[in-house]
């Protein structure tokens, strides 16, 4: 890391300049962390909602996030989420890429490759295509 002498002005973390999700550089704190699908966040947050409401412990961040995940959650029940996870597990994709696949729900492999460029050649186009198709059919036929 280059440090050019004395720093002027208020301290700003440098991280934002160097991290790049396109190249899968997430920084040491998040490189190996477990990524959550939006649907999983929804399940976790909804489970806490009642008790939090009773204790009047709802923060602004919590309610905003809950609204967001309810809007964008692709899989409605826990079994579907489990099956999606089972589909993604045998691939050699990183956790971040798996979560992006599950969250964005693209229909074509070209689309997901353009949105998540780090996938690159880690998986063949045919495999990726069948993976997306299977995820799509899970989404269609969920209860």
């Amino acid at each position: 890391m280059i440090r050019a002498g004395k720093r002027h002005g208020p301290y700003r973390p440098r991280a934002e300049e160097t991290l790049d999700a396109g190249k899968l550089e997430l920084g040491e704190d998040f490189q190996d962390a477990e990524c959550l699908l939006i649907s999983e966040v929804k399940v976790l947050l909804e489970a806490q909602y009642e008790s939090k409401k009773e204790e009047k412990n709802l923060t602004d961040v919590y309610t905003k996030t809950l609204e967001y995940v309810q809007k964008f959650s692709r899989y409605t029940n826990r079994d579907t989420i489990k099956e999606v996870r089972a589909l993604l597990k045998p691939t050699n994709l990183e956790p971040f890429e798996c979560a992006q696949l599950g969250n964005l729900c693209c229909s074509e492999y070209e689309e997901i490759k353009s949105l998540v460029p780090s996938i690159g050649n880690k998986i063949s186009d045919d495999d990726l295509d069948s993976l997306l198709k299977q995820m799509d059919s899970l989404k269609k036929y969920q209860g």
């Binding site: 700003r12 991280a15 790049d20 961040v61 996030t65 949105l115 460029p117």
Partner: protein, 170 residues
């Protein structure tokens, strides 16, 4: 991206709480202290999922309060450059569009909105629209984050929708 991560935090309890329901106080204080906060290192801490361990407390010499180190796991939200996220449009004006992805605000400047979408101040609500697409309050958009700025209590991001496969989603 949402993450699930193990973290630790030190809780200080004043002597009045050092009694039979001490663990409960420690847990409550942890929820109060960290849920909904935002740091440059971990992004937004949205909710605590589980308390993993509350270590033996230490009384601070000459003070009477006790410190407890608590290990817990939490849901975090951290945006990254070049990450693609879905967001809901909030404000629309001549400068551009502000979209929200959970706690995060993403500003999309006018120059990073496809050139065929024109701003129409006379529509109600104000919108950007082309012949077949329309961006107004409440529209869902797929945005690529181009940069983030971390403040003490908030993270701001800038984004673009002027690329392949981005823009309005159904």
């Amino acid at each position: 991206m949402f993450f699930h991560k193990k973290l630790s935090h030190t809780i200080t309890l004043s002597p009045e709480f050092l009694g039979p329901r001490m663990r409960e106080y420690v847990t409550k204080k942890l929820y109060m202290d960290i849920e909904g906060t935002c740091t440059g290192r971990y992004g937004y801490i949205i909710a605590v999922v589980a308390i993993l361990e509350i270590q033996m407390g230490k009384v601070i010499p000459g003070h009477g309060s006790a410190e407890f180190e608590v290990k817990y796991s939490a849901i975090l939200y951290m945006p990254f450059r070049n990450e693609v996220v879905d967001a809901v449009v909030g404000m629309v004006n001549t400068l551009g569009v502000t979209a929200h992805a959970g706690p995060l605000s993403i500003f999309i400047t006018r120059s990073l909105i496809p050139t065929d979408m024109k701003f129409d101040p006379h529509s109600n609500p104000p919108s950007y629209h082309s012949e077949d697409q329309k961006i107004e309050k409440g529209t869902m958009v797929r945005v690529k984050i181009t940069g983030t700025r971390i403040d003490a209590t908030e993270i701001f991001a800038t984004g673009t929708i002027k690329e392949d496969y981005l823009s309005v989603i159904e």
